[in-house]
């Protein structure tokens, strides 16, 4: 499976997934770290990919999403945004609603 197919499978199978530098327990970039804090504060389960551990995904993801930077958060297969957008949504309370709905939809399915 090539990198684009792998990404497609990951974002389809996981209602919430973050592509980040490092891991949720040990983020290796301030932007990834702040984004993870917002996801954790929402109290929902999410998947993650450490892009440092998958060089092909690291290189393919900016093209996949037409989005040049990391982290990238996907909800129900769609790019939600990077650090700025995720934090903005968290501050307005929308992120909590969107993530809970995404997880709920998966459970109901």
């Amino acid at each position: 499976m090539d990198a684009l197919e792998r990404i497609n499978k990951q974002v389809t199978e996981n209602p919430i997934i973050i592509y980040m530098k490092g891991t949720p327990d040990f983020p290796q970039c301030g932007f990834s770290s702040r984004t993870i804090q917002a996801l954790n504060a929402c109290g929902v389960e999410y998947a993650y990919v450490n892009i440092f551990e998958d060089e092909e995904v690291y290189r393919a993801l900016p093209k996949f999403a037409n989005w040049p930077t990391f982290p990238q958060v996907y909800v129900k297969g769609e790019l939600l945004g990077g650090c700025d957008i995720t934090l903005d949504l968290f501050q307005t309370g929308e992120l909590q609603k969107m993530l809970k709905e995404a997880v709920g939809a998966k459970k109901a399915a």
């Binding site: 530098k21 970039c29 301030g30 989005w67 040049p68 945004g81 990077g82 700025d84 957008i85």
Partner: protein
Amino acid sequence: MTRIERIRESLLRGFPDATLSLEDESHLHAGHAGASTGRGHFRLKIVSPAFKGLNPIARHRAVYAALGDMMQTDIHALSIDARDI
């Protein structure tokens, strides 16, 4: 022309009627993995009527499009606050 001047020029080419402020925050990240590539960290506030009707993803993509190759060659991270008023 310095890097920050080139970034500003690219943005104004893409958004001729924008008002913007651009800060180089590279010094805050010196020594971390991204800094070793030599590309910088920047914080942008940009206001342009061109953003009207666009959602946040589309606004960010429009900014990235205006910067073109600089996202690969000069910019490691860009914090974006894009508004229409």
